[in-house]
């Protein structure tokens, strides 16, 4: 089973790598053709038409196909490993990186399907690839669980919601980066600023409740395992900071009407906090120090 798992992992790594190549290739091709990637490039969404003579081959369809394969193989890999170890992907950094990559690819595909634009995917997929390559360098052999981690249900849920939240926030990051490049709508082959802004907002609308669950399930587990729901453990604290940043984004937007650049910067900061939280166990020790 572990053998199968590493087999699928390799297949997923290959697919994701190819997917990233295709996305980058497509971006280059679009630049070259100065074509319109999506209708909605200019300021008024309804008035734009794809540039004549250029058939954007399916808004990164090949890239998306490879991403679908990546998700498929990664799912098989996670399931295979879960069957072999009897628990969810939460016992070491390898497992968590794979789970995170899964979340990013799934979110990428959902947003690409929903918005029919591959532009943000071209930023988000390299993030997924980075997590996979990082996982490849890590010790992957499953280790037996120490007593505190023998709480399979809660921890699997905890990591599953983290997977979704972080994956979706990667999209928020991608759209924020593109928004900053596209603020004035000057790049014809990118989606309009308004669409990018909306993608960022939607990523938070989806991700924030999940992020809340990450915190609460973690607290619930801590209460069961140690008898205190919150102990200002470094990873807990930085998760809280991440959560506050996204909470701040929502409030700034809804109450103050923050749009565009300012909220894009918040999204980038938020994702930086996500990465910091994820790498956190390397910077400090604490309850989450399972490296």
């Amino acid at each position: 089973m572990v053998k199968m798992e590493s087999f699928f992992f390799m297949a997923a790594l290959l697919s994701t790598g190819l997917s990233v190549l295709f996305y980058l290739w497509q971006v280059a091709a679009l630049r070259w053709h100065r074509a319109v990637l999506v209708a909605g490039a200019a300021s008024d969404a309804a008035s734009t038409v794809p540039a004549a003579g250029y058939r954007p081959w399916g808004s990164g369809r090949f890239a998306a196909m490879m991403a679908v394969n990546g998700l498929l193989f990664l799912s098989l890999s996670i399931i295979g490993r879960g069957v072999a170890t009897g628990h969810g992907p939460f016992s070491n950094m390898y497992e968590f990186s794979v789970a995170l990559a899964w979340g990013v690819i799934a979110a990428t595909l959902y947003f690409q399907w929903h918005y029919r634009t591959a532009a943000v995917s071209a930023v988000a997929m390299p993030v997924a690839l980075a997590f996979l390559v990082y996982a490849y360098t890590l010790p992957s052999r499953p280790l037996p669980l120490v007593p505190a981690l023998q709480q399979s249900l809660l921890l699997t849920l905890h990591v599953a919601v983290a997977m979704i939240a972080y994956g979706v926030f990667a999209i928020g990051f991608g759209s924020a980066v593109l928004y900053l490049a596209q603020r004035r709508g000057s790049i014809p082959w990118l989606p309009s600023p308004a669409v990018l802004d909306d993608m960022g907002y939607r990523s938070v609308i989806i991700g924030f409740p999940f992020m809340t669950l990450v915190l609460l399930l973690g607290a619930l587990w801590a209460d069961v395992a140690w008898g205190r729901y919150w102990s200002w453990d470094p990873k807990e604290t930085s998760t809280l900071v991440t959560w506050l940043l996204y909470g701040g984004y929502v409030h700034a937007r809804v109450l103050r009407g923050w749009r565009g650049s300012r909220s894009a910067v918040l999204l980038i900061l938020g994702f930086a906090a996500v990465v910091f939280t994820y790498m956190g166990n390397y910077f400090f020790s604490g309850l989450h120090a399972y490296k």
Binding site: L143, P147, Q150, D223, W226, G227, R228, Y229, T237, L244
Partner: protein, 494 residues
């Protein structure tokens, strides 16, 4: 008489007037102060600043070494900790950082102050919002000026409809009802007016999750004032220890086992325990990590373990005074020879004895394996007797006979009663519920005006609220699509 009464009354009114004047004189600045405090608390900018301050302080608390809870409680121990643990690392920065309370950030004045202000600000913002929410719940006026229907962030107009205004209204109301809008209407000779909305009650979710933050704090406060938490409750194998804190509970540890995976990492820590209340057995079972035991709101968690020494003390006549395990639960001495140390009081005699075992993991030059070091004190800081005990060999010390019977293990538990816990989990559920309500069920408002233009047909104007919400635009798109289709169908039928 009359005159006098008058003067007294006059004096009274003068005094009343004066005090009223005084009150008025003070009332204004107080009201002004209150108002500006209210305004400050209700300001989003202030809230953002508070959140940033809290984030900054949290970062400090994460990156900077923090004092352990039990050390912080004792001034002398805290000073010792600063001097011996922090100063070697941070040097000159130690004093200013300690002055700022940065080694216990989460209990510092800054953190608590910013937290309290944030609470106040959340509450003020929530109250400020009530007016808007109230009118949203009531619904807007149905009949508005004609110009109103030409505004809105998103809007649509259907004209030259080959049907009466009444029929058009029927179609519109059908579409709105199918999309589960609350429809309120007015009609007249010159057409109809509709104000429709849906998900209005979900807006109350904002009170659920903002209120739950206040509930979190309340739960935390209730827990820390009406509960207790002991992080270092140690029971040696074969011994009974009182929990304390007025609980009347005591715990007996029958056996403790620490198991390891063949690869080395720990596999299981379990304590076989019996719980007594006022001396009577009330519960027995196995305590493991992730499997706490609970009795009457007091919860026991497997937390740590270590070595214990079983000791016997007899007086000069040979009468047994003490026969129990002593948990060697803390460390004394310098690196690398940190020695497990424990303490017990010898009954009747008023003596206190310290027991020091050999350092773990090293060949200890001072305390041999199979030995413990004893220091017996009687009140003063100078020991009355010091000596090494060989396992199984009685030794006379301070007029008593001490025997080191054998080594065993002790199990360490976290014991807590947290009456705030229920509040915390209620708050959590409310929070998730509130966020879900507000995020996934946005309030949608639609206004429709329809009238028949002589000779042309019926004209419909549909509009949304004025905010630039994508969710609103999205909903409007589908609504207009539905409306378009249904109107076309109705026209065909007619």
């Amino acid at each position: 008489m009359e005159g006098k009464t008058l003067t007294t009354e006059g004096a009274k009114t003068a005094a009343a007037r004066r005090s009223a004047g005084l009150a008025r004189q003070w009332a204004r600045p107080i009201r002004r102060l209150f108002r500006s405090a209210w305004r400050v608390c209700g300001s989003v900018r202030v809230t953002v600043v508070l959140i940033l301050v809290l984030i900054g302080l949290s970062l400090v608390g994460t990156l900077l070494i923090q004092v352990p809870g039990e050390v912080a409680a004792d001034r002398a121990e805290y000073a010792w900790w600063l001097q011996n643990v922090v100063r070697p690392k941070l040097g000159l920065f130690t004093t200013p950082l300690a002055f700022l309370g940065f080694f216990d950030v989460f209990h510092s004045l800054w953190f608590l102050g910013a937290g309290a202000l944030l609470m106040a600000s959340i509450m003020v913002c929530s109250i400020n919002r009530w007016k808007a929410l109230r009118s949203a719940l009531d619904g807007s006026r149905v009949k508005l000026a004609d110009g109103f229907y030409e505004g809105g962030s998103s809007r649509a107009q259907f004209s030259d409809l080959a049907m009466s205004a009444h029929e058009a209204e029927g179609v519109t109301r059908g579409v709105l009802a199918r999309r589960r809008y609350r429809v309120r209407r007015e009609g007249g000779a010159d057409g109809f007016w509709i104000a429709a909305d849906k998900n209005r009650h979900f807006r109350l979710g904002t009170y659920l999750h903002h209120g739950s933050i206040v509930l979190f704090v309340l739960g935390f406060l209730v827990g820390s004032y009406f509960g207790f938490r002991s992080q270092s409750f140690m029971v040696p194998e074969g011994s009974v220890r009182e929990v304390g804190y007025g609980s009347g509970l005591s715990l007996e540890l029958e056996s403790f086992v620490d198991e390891y995976w063949p690869e080395g990492p720990p596999k299981d820590f379990r304590s076989q325990v019996i719980l007594y209340e006022n001396g009577a057995e009330v519960k027995r079972g196995v305590l493991r990590v992730n499997h706490p035991m609970s009795y009457n709101g007091v919860r026991f968690y497997q937390s740590f373990f270590g070595q214990a020494a079983v000791l016997e003390v007899r007086d000069s006549s040979g009468k047994l005074l003490f026969n129990d395990g002593v948990a060697l639960g803390w460390l004394s001495g310098q690196e690398p020879y940190k020695r497990p140390t424990g303490m017990f009081s010898v009954p009747v005699t008023g003596l206190t004895a310290y027991v020091v075992g050999p350092a773990k993991g090293y060949s200890d030059p001072m305390v041999q394996p199979g030995q413990v070091l004893m220091e017996v004190y009687s009140g003063s800081s100078k020991p009355v007797a010091v000596g090494a005990l060989q396992q199984g060999v009685p030794k006379k010390m301070a007029g008593l006979e001490f025997t080191f019977v054998r080594e065993r293990q002790f199990s360490g538990f976290q014991v807590s009663r947290d009456p705030g816990n229920a509040l915390i989990w209620t708050a959590s559920s409310l929070f998730v519920l509130g966020v879900g309500m507000v995020f996934y069920f946005p309030h949608q408002q639609i206004w429709v005006r329809g009238w028949t233009e002589p000779g042309k047909g019926t004209r419909l104007r549909v509009r949304t609220a004025s905010g630039r919400q994508v969710a609103t635009a999205r909903e409007f798109e589908t609504l207009v699509e539905d409306l378009d289709r249904e109107l076309a169908r109705a026209v065909k039928k007619v």
